[in-house]
Each structure stands twice: as structure tokens, then as C-alpha cells.
Amino acid sequence: MIEVNNLKKNYKSFQAVKNSNFRVEQGEIFGFLGPNGAGKSTTINILSTMLPPTSGTVTINGYDVVKEQNRVRESIGIIFQQNTLDEKLTAKENLMLHCKFYGISRAQRKSRIDEVLEIVDLKESIGTLVEKFSGGMQRRLEIARGLLHYPKVLFLDEPTVGLDPQTRAHVWEYILKLKEKENITMFLTTHYLDEAEISDRIAIMDHGEIIAIDTPKRLKQQLGGDIIEITTSDNEAAMKEIRENFDVVDLSLKDDVIYCKVENSDAFVSEFIKTLQTPLTGLDIRKPTLNDVFLSFTGREIRD
């Protein structure tokens, strides 16, 4: 559905996207995860014909984003990072204009509008001015509008940025519902780790470069096991003991906490507690997160 080959984008001499290659299959949710400034919006803008690539080729639904812009535009829906609703118009007027831009026939407009408003639970607000909407409602209306012309691919650029946690969860609920109902291909970007988890596959991007692409599960598995955080009264002695008696993948000390990576945390912990001589003050088992994945690739954490 989406094919990207050797894509590069420079702003003057600054390389915002460096040689990217990936494919997204029909019906897949594909996530782009990376910190602010990684090049996520730049990529999504190229894929949606809003920015020309410096080099490389991109096809969406079989159409080239440079040579067949109109075909691509008909095939996609997009929710931009910034709000692009007209706040001085009502929800219905915003949706009506969208129908006209996309050449939806007069006979179909009303039923389509009802249908998408139903999905995002905004039917009651159809006649309300958008400026009266809360942030979360506006986002949902944008999602509804993006669906109005039955796009083959829906792009979502940080769909929940700036929303409170409860509203964020709400918006994702709608996105997942949509995925179930319409089997639409989705390409989303986020810098929230937990949000990336819902993707079927994730590309991790940093400084314009894709550093890993895989399912969230396999990315985490690649790290080779669980992380156990240990605090003791004498960390040096404890680390020595661990090194001597256990088979660990990785062992490090940071801020008075021992980070110990093991393949199977259950087996390790039961044995560890039994044999450790140094008095134990704390123990925490953590399954690896995408943050750990990012950390292991870049040596940094993704911060908000």
C-alpha cells in the first residue's frame, strides 16, 4: 500500500530525512516513533504530497507522490499535527466542504457525514461551531473528516499531542475501533511510547534515520530479556556476586540502582533471592519497553 525507496529530504543543507526504505501492507497499522525533530512530520508530509522529496521514490496505493499527486490525494486521508479545522464553521459545514473538495456526490453526502460522526461519537454536535469544541472533540472531528471520502490510507501525525491523558486514551479507542470496522491502512507518528505499542509494526526514527523496523514484540525481544532493577546495602558486593553466580545478558549500575538484564526473569529472581548474601533493599522486575529499545539503539531516552 505504501512503498518508500531511498527517500531523502534536505532543508537547505540540513538532512531532515536520510535514506529511508520501508513498505506498509494493506490493512496494517504502521507506527513511526521518534523524539521531536526526528523527521516524522517531514516524512508524513512527503507521503501525503505536501512536500516534494529531495530524492527517492514513494508510491501510495500504486501511485507516485510526485508524478500522480491527484491520484495520491484521492487515495489518502490525513490528520495533520496542527489543527486544520475551520473554527468559525460548524462541524457539519467543515464536513460538507470536505465532501465537495473530494467530489462526493450530493446524494451520498448526508449519509457519509452521519456515518463518520457516529464513529467518533459527535452526532449531537453536528450543528455546533468548532471553536466551541474541546481539544479532544476537535481531534475526533478531524479524524471523522479524514475518513469521509473512504481513503485507502489514513495518515495521523501525532493525533493525540497536546491532549490530556484521558482524552488521549479516548482518541485511541476511536482509532482502534476504526481499524476493526474499516480495515483501513494506517500510518501514524507519535513520540509517546505507549501509543506506538498499538501498531502492528513500528519504525523507530532518530535524527532523520530509521534505525529499526519490526513488530513491537520482536523489537523488545531483540533486547534479549527482562530488566531487573536491584537496590542493596552494598551494590559493589552484590554486583560481584551476580557476576560470579548468574548468567546475565547485561549488568550495569546507575544512580545507586543495579540494572540487570536476564533472559528469564522468573527463574533468575527465585534463585537470586535464595543465594544473595548482601542484604537486599529493593527489587523491581520490568519487561522491556520501547523506550529501552530506543535507548539500546541510540544510547538516549525519548523524552516528551
Partner: protein, 273 residues
């Protein structure tokens, strides 16, 4: 086609919804009417009367078409420039990412800005009784399409300027170096006679000149004026030595609009790449 209508419709809906703006945008034209019509009117009238023996010469009658043209110019230019704000974030992206062709986007926006300006201009005519000016219904009906055409020319200019500016910061500059000179060098507020060559040249290229002149010729019974008054009031325009006709003015404005729409479309395409 549907795309053009939608873009136009958006401007119209918002125009009728924004009452404060509708009222607020009258303040400037009314100020100009007071300053130029009443303030300068007295001395202009006595000057003209002394020079030509024209008994019932009314200066406000000359000023009014100029002030309406000024309203058309300012409203359509500002309306077109609003797409700069819309462009990098906001609604313009919704339009640009849709399959509506770029030239239709330009035409739709031009028609939207022009319609808003046209409506503002038409509303100015409620002032006629207050000003003691009469207009016969037939002239008024003829005036409507002419005013719309004039507004289209100005809106397309605004669109081209918007495509060349990359931020709202240039806005004040546009007002100072484009809008104000276009008004002053058009004969809208005072007749332009015996100007130095380069000024006459600018006046000749200025679309406002022909808009104002067309409106004056429709609203004022030019034939009844003596040759002297016509000359004094700058009603004998020439275009590089040729006398200007109303048909010529219409063609100038239509040609100007078409050319600028095309240039604006090309300029938008370039800006997008």
C-alpha cells in the same frame, strides 16, 4: 468545479457570520469620505467653480466611487492575504492536500475574496441618501457586475502577493508600498492632473485607476459636464496617448485578472516545491 464553489462558499458563510468585522470595515471608508468629501470638498468645489463656471458641481459625487473602489481594493486584498495565515498551518492544508486542482483553488479563493469585497462595496450605497447623492436604478444595476469585476482584479492581485510573501510579517509592508500608493495614484480621492511622467506611468498601469474611472462614468452623468470640469476632474484618461474607453477598461481589468490568477497559480506551485 465543486471545489471552486466550496472554497468560495467558505468565505461567504464566514462573511455573513462575522457581523463585527462587517461593521468595523466601514470605519475607514467613512473616515475617508469625511476627510476628502467634506473636508476637502468645499475648497475643491470653489476651485472648480471658479475655473469653469460650473454652477452645481458636487465633489462628493466624485469622491464616492473612489471610496467604494478603495473599499473593494482593501477588502479583497486583505481577504486574499489571509491565506498566508492559513497556509503553513490551518485550513489551507486541508484544501491543498485535497484533489482540487491548484488553479481551481486560486480561482475559488479569488472569487471568495472578491465576493466579500463586493458585498462590502454594495453596502456602502446605503450612505447615498445621507450624502445627498442620487443614482438611477439602471445605473445601479450596471454598476453591480462592474464592481464585482473590479473586485476580482484586486483579489487576484492579493492572491499573487500572498503567493510571494512567506509570512504575515510582510503584511504591513504590502499595505504601505502597494495598497496606499494604489489608492493615491488612481484618482480615487483627488484628480490626478499634470503629474510628472513617471507618476503618470504608474497611474496608467494601476488597475484601480480604471476601476474608479468606470464607476465614475456609470454613476456621474459625464456628458452633462462641461469640457473644463471633465478635464479638471481627471475624467479624460489616456493609455499611452490613446483616449481610454469604458470597453477598453473592462478588457484591461479582465486581462489583468486572468494574468494574475495564472501567475499566482504558478507561484503557488513553485512555493510548494
Amino acid at each position: 468545479m465543486e471545489g471552486i464553489i466550496a472554497i468560495w462558499q467558505r468565505d461567504i458563510i464566514k462573511f455573513f457570520r462575522d457581523r463585527p468585522r462587517m461593521v468595523g470595515s466601514f470605519s475607514m471608508p467613512i473616515l475617508f469620505l469625511v476627510v476628502f468629501g467634506i473636508g476637502m470638498g468645499g475648497s475643491m468645489e470653489s476651485l472648480v467653480r471658479a475655473g469653469t463656471n460650473a454652477e452645481n458641481f458636487n465633489y462628493t459625487e466624485f469622491i464616492f466611487p473612489g471610496i467604494v473602489s478603495m473599499t473593494l481594493l482593501m477588502t479583497s486584498i486583505f481577504s486574499s492575504l489571509s491565506i498566508i495565515q492559513d497556509r503553513d498551518f490551518g485550513y489551507m492544508r486541508e484544501i491543498l492536500v485535497s484533489p482540487v486542482s491548484r488553479v481551481n483553488i486560486a480561482i475559488g479563493k479569488m472569487l471568495g475574496s472578491a465576493s466579500v469585497a463586493f458585498l462590502q462595496g454594495v453596502m456602502m450605497f446605503v450612505l447615498l441618501p445621507v450624502l445627498g447623492i442620487g443614482i438611477d436604478p439602471l445605473s445601479f444595476l450596471l454598476l453591480l457586475p462592474v464592481m464585482f469585476m473590479i473586485a476580482c482584479a484586486f483579489a487576484s492581485l492579493g492572491l499573487l502577493v500572498a503567493s510571494l510573501l512567506n509570512s504575515m510579517q510582510g503584511f504591513q509592508l504590502v499595505v504601505n508600498i502597494l495598497v496606499m500608493p494604489m489608492i493615491f495614484l488612481s484618482g480615487a480621492l483627488f484628480p490626478l492632473n499634470n503629474m510628472p511622467g513617471w507618476v503618470s506611468f504608474l497611474v496608467t498601469l494601476n488597475p484601480v485607476t480604471y476601476g474608479v474611472d468606470l464607476m465614475k462614468h456609470i454613476m456621474i452623468d459625464v456628458e452633462s459636464l462641461s469640457a473644463g470640469v471633465r478635464q479638471e476632474m481627471g475624467l479624460n484618461l489616456t493609455f499611452f496617448g490613446q483616449p481610454v474607453t469604458m470597453t477598453g477598461e473592462v478588457f484591461f481589468l479582465l486581462g489583468f485578472t486572468t494574468l494574475l490568477i495564472l501567475l499566482a497559480t504558478l507561484s503557488f506551485r513553485r512555493a510548494n516545491s
